[in-house]
Each structure stands twice: as C-alpha cells, then as structure tokens.
C-alpha cells in the first residue's frame, strides 16, 4: 500500500465523519425548538462543512481518475429534472445565506452525461459561487454548437482576469496555475470530469467568463 492509498482511505473516513456532522447541523438548523443565538453562525458552519466535504469528494474522485479506476457512466438525462435535483440539493444552504438560487432550461432539453460526476462539479461550483454572489445564483442549460452547455452564474464581482486565461493549459498541470488553492482544486476537478465526457471525437471542457446572463462570474461546462 503506498502513501496515496493511505491518504485516500483516510480521506474517505474523514468524509464520512463530515457527512454525519453535516446531517446533525442540518437537523439543528431546521429544528425550530433549538434556540441558536446567531442563526448565521450555524449556516456558516454548514456552509464550510459542505465545502470541506465537496473538496474531499473531489480529491477522492481525482485519485480514482489518476488510478484509471473511474470512467464516466454516460446516460441520457433530462436537464430540467437534473437541475431540479441540483437546486434541491443546494437550496437550504442558499436560503440560509440569503442568496436566491434558481434554474432555467427548456423542459425538453436532454443531455448525455454521468449524472453523479456532473452533479458533484455543479455542487462545488455553486458552493464556490456562494462566496461571491450578492443576491443571486442561476444554473442554466442550453444546447450550443452541438454541445450541452451548463452554466453557473452569479451576480458578484466576477472572476479575476488571471483565471480566464488560465484554463487553456491547466488541465494537465494544475500546479502551474496562479489561482488560490481551493479554486485550483475545484477547476482541476471540473476539467478532469469534463474531459471524461467524449462523443464523436469531441471532448468536454470548461470555460470561465464574466457577465453572461448575470453580471458576475459565469462558469461554463461544455459537454459533447
């Protein structure tokens, strides 16, 4: 057993503990009989625990990609149904942070991807957007140029210039990037997952831009 295996197995353990912490905090926050002096504090606890959990899942997933143990299990998904679940999964947290989370897509739009993997990319992207959004986060999906494009947009200050140019070559060498640590892991993760999706010689990618539908940052997932 080498060190990375040991790391992976303890990350798995930590993640399970965090999962239980999260569900306890969730009960605590949602129980009206609990007198929490500062509700925002509890929400913050929830938010950070969720982020830590997402990060651990990303690490484990990347570990498996690195060991070639992970393949995308592509299946047809209805985007409206899928985004409903993504919104549901993140709504409680957004509410407690006073951020409005919504989705928008054509009810008949279908796409082909691994729902688990893409969901974890979107969860962590939304988790990231929490920190920058002022009042609103929107997740939307469309079909463009033969790709399915899923966007996570916020109405915050947008991505710094250093990030948008970075994406071209970061996929294989995340260590060369200038982005702060957490974002770096998140983007590397998103890129790796996007690239697992291939169809007809085309491969998935991510793009970052500012001011698409909402004025702030816009994370784009392009899936073939």
């Amino acid at each position: 057993m080498d060190f990375s295996d040991i790391l992976a197995s303890s990350i798995h353990d930590i993640k399970n503990s965090l999962g239980l912490i999260l569900s306890s905090v969730d009960e605590l926050v949602n129980d009206p009989n609990n007198k929490i002096a500062d509700v925002r504090q509890a929400s913050l606890l929830q938010h950070e625990a969720q982020r830590a959990n997402n990060n651990l899942i990303q690490l484990l997933t990347l570990y498996k990609i690195g060991n070639q143990q992970l393949a995308a299990r592509v299946a047809e998904q209805n985007l409206e149904d899928f985004l409903d679940e993504v919104i549901a999964n993140n709504s409680a947290l957004c509410e407690s942070l006073n951020i409005q989370l919504s989705s928008d897509c054509d009810p008949d739009l279908n796409g082909y991807f691994d729902a688990d993997l893409i969901r974890s990319v979107l969860d962590s992207t939304i988790g990231n957007a929490h920190r920058y959004a002022k009042t609103e986060i929107q997740v939307n999906a469309t079909e463009e140029d033969g790709y399915l494009v899923i966007r996570v947009e916020d109405d915050g200050g947008g991505f710094p210039d250093s990030l948008s140019g970075l994406l071209k070559n970061m996929a294989k060498q995340p260590q060369e990037s200038q982005a702060p640590g957490r974002t770096q892991l998140g983007l590397f993760f998103a890129t790796s997952i996007a690239e697992l999706h291939q169809n007809n010689g085309k491969r998935g990618r991510i793009e970052l831009k500012n001011g698409h539908r909402l004025p702030g940052g816009c994370f784009e997932l392009w899936l073939p």
Binding site: H12, N30, K64, Q69, A71, E76, N78, D81, D108
Partner: protein
Amino acid sequence: MANDFSDKSFLVVDDFPDMRSAIRHLLRSLGVSTLEQARDGQEAIAQLTRTSFDVILCDYNLGPGKDGQQVLEEARHRQLIGVNTIFIMITAENTREMVMSAIEYSPDSYLAKPFTKELLRTRLTKLFAAKANLAEVNKALIAKDYAAAISELDRLIAAKPKNLSELIRTKTDILLTAKRYEEAKKIFEDVLGARDLPWARLGLGKVYFWQKKYPLAQEVFEHIVGLDANMIAAYDWLAKTQTALKQFTAAEKTIQSAARLSPRGLPRQQLLGELALSNGNTHDAELAFGRAVALAKHSVLNHPSLFAGLAKSKSANGKHAEALKVVADIGKTFANGQEAELYAATATATVKKDQGDMEGAAAALKAAEESMQQMATTRHSSKVTLEMAKTYAQLGEQKKAEKLIHEAIANNHDEEELLMEVVQVCRDADLDYDAETAIREIQQAVVKTNNEGVRLIKQGQFEAAIQLLSGAADEMPGNKTINLNAAKAIIMKMESMGATADDITAVRHFIERVRDLDPNDWRLGDVISRLRQLATGAS
C-alpha cells in the same frame, strides 16, 4: 400535498447506527411515519419476507454478510419485492464502480452519499411519479401480457413526454422479452441514427444474437467494447456470441476481462470457471470457481454446482484431498437436497477417477444415479441432466451419456443457450455423438409435428390436431414449446366450439408442466389469459 410521503412505508438498511438515525431523521422531516430499519442484509431480507414496503433505502456496504446488491438480488429473485417497490441503492464514491457495474439486477435509483433532505424529496417525488406513470405497463408485465404492455407504452410515447427515451428503452426491453426482434431492431436503428448510444447498440447486438446472426452480433459487441472498455454487458454478450461461434478460447478471454472489471458478479465467475475448465486452463478455473464459491456464500444464487466446479478444478490441478474437502462442504452448505447430493456424487466420481480409484468412482456414480432417480419423480433440470451426462462420459459409460444428451436436446430443442452447452459437453467429453446432427433432426421432427397440427386446426379438425400435439407433449413432457402448443390447440378448439370443463382441465395440465419447468416462461401470460377468458365464459 404533492411531497407528502406520510402514506408510504419505508425500510432503511445500513450497518452504521449513526447513518441509520441520520436517514431516519431525514425521512421523518419529510413526513414519513411508517419506517422500519435493518442493520444488515439478513435483517433486511427478514423484514421484506414479513412486510412489503413502498421504498427501500439500502446502503451498498453493509459490513460482513450480504452487501446491498445481494439484498436486491435476493429480494427480486425470491419476489419479495415487486415492480412497484422503489429500491434505492445508497453508494459512496468507493463503492460506485462496484454498484454500477452490477448489471443483472439494478435498483430503481442510486443515491450518492452525502445527500440532503431536499435532494431525497425531489428524487422520491420523481420516482413515485414515474411508477404511477408506468402503473398500467407494470400491471401488464406482471400478467406477462406483453402486447398490452407495449400498446400502453405506445400510448405514453405518443404524448412525447420528457422521459420519452426512457419509455422507448423500456419498450425495446419488452419487445426483446416477447421475442419481437424485428420491431426492436427498427427502434434500435432509429435511435442509433441520431446518436451512438451504447444501450441501443447493445440491443442491436442482442437482436442479431437471438436471430442467430452471430458474426454480425460479434461485430457489434466488439465495436462497443472498443468504444467503451468499461461496458461489462457488452463483454458478457460478446462471450456468449463467441461461444455460439465455438470460439471457446476467445470467449474465455472475453469473460476474463469482464470478470476483472466487475469481479463481484457471481454468474460471470461461474461461466469463467466452466469455460476455463473445459478449455483445460485448470489453474484459472480453480481461481474463478474459488471466487464464485466465496461470492455465493451470502447469495441467494448459491448452488452446489459451484462447489462441484471448484472440486473438479482442484482435482484437475492434482489437489485431490482439497477437492474432496470442497465436496464435503456441499453437504454442510446445502442441507438435504437431492440436487446437492447429486453434485457431491458427480464431483466425487471425477476426483476419484483422477486419483485412479476406479472403484470409488463407480460407487460415486451409482450414488449420483440414485439421486437422479429420486429427483425424476419431481423433476430435474436440464443442467442436472447434462452434469450427469458429463460424468457418465468421463467414466466411459458412453451409451448412458448419449441417452441423457438426447433427452436434454428433446426437452430443449429451441433453447439456444442450452443447446450450445450440449455441444460443448460433447466436445469436452470426447463423445462419439454428433450432437449437432441430433439437434437438427429433433428440431425438424418438432417443426413437422407442429406444422401438421396447425394444418389440422386450419381445416377444423381440432380433435386430430389435439391428439397429435398432446401425444407429442406426453412423449416430451420436459419440452415447454411442445406442451404449450398442445395447450394452444385445445384453447383454439374451445375458442371456436365453446369451452368444456374437461378441456379446461387438460389445458391446465399442460400449463402446470410448463410452469414447473420455468415459471417465468414468456409465453405463459398469453395462454393463461386466453384460458381465463374461456373459463369465465363457461361458468
């Protein structure tokens, strides 16, 4: 309220008390009031035997004993849960691959840990809606009335709903079960015209396989494996096709790859063991059967043939003492079953022969014969017949082996997979028996009888037709098709001339025979529903 689950019953299965309580709290907050829990697979099965649930939330990892997949397998196999039960498998990222690669029995939904209350609510609401949407289809499927299921699906498809492609996929599954291959093929080709989807390509391959266009099937399955090296179902079908093409070494290699990708599939390990043993790769056979026996420990699919396979492989590798120990385990694992006794005896006979103890081998063979005779009063499966034939052949009893093989062919003249096994048994045993010619002759004889029966019915000579087909059925009581044809002849007579109590009894007799052989035979539904109509009309 749309999201109220208060009238639904839930079973939560997890070995971890904190996780059970977390899920329990979560469900309570969704309004669930009927909620049971189980802490391992055995407890879950015990609960399912007693009560039926609307939803089962089951973790894949349940500690020692059965895993979540084995719980699902046993629940479906023993029909403890029906099509209306929602089974949700809870996975962690380290069990994802194992769970997703299980193809024999798949749950209604997967839920990756951790999940929030809102996600569970959304998922449950959709799953309930989907079950309600398919209620009529499922009702028809339970009655094995495939025509009704398909016309209901067509009605749903015509509305072009969001889940259109899921409905289309369900429809092709049913078409394949009902052996309506050309219709299924047309749909697969249409789907593939729009996008290269693995499920449609796999379906197309299956159509070719069932239509016996083996080289075309092989091409399709090889193509899928080339595109996606992780699609295990394609390996399984490729191996089947290679077996049909008598490429036994290639088939073993293919199934070896699949077993490497998904090592927890029991039928796959057994198949690998059988192929390896008959190809003379006794070391690989021992490994595969060893894994199969270990996997089967907590599985409802555990079977004495796995132990017999392991014993024979060990014996072939010169480990006679170990082999006999495995044989002894058969008696310990399967309490007093004739089938277990038979496999213990045939395995013993093989081991003794390998040891050079011909007297011991003959004694074991005699014990096997006795078990089989006792089973004959109830029924013995064609697998048992073939096992016995193999053993006879190994010990030089050619004539007896040939007689059994002839019986197996006669009872299964249109069961391609079993016939392939027959051919393989003859090859392995070096029997001087031309199985392929025998198969052809029997098939021709059956077709001739059938055509004659159909001709007589068309001419209105019902009695003559019934006499002919009933006679054939009594000659081959183990042949499902022939028994069904006899039943249908009597039904057609009643449909044209009115029902009588005697005729209804006669039909039931044939139906019982078929049901005994295979309660899930795809043609039973039609015959039973036609009989029911006649019976209600008569009373």
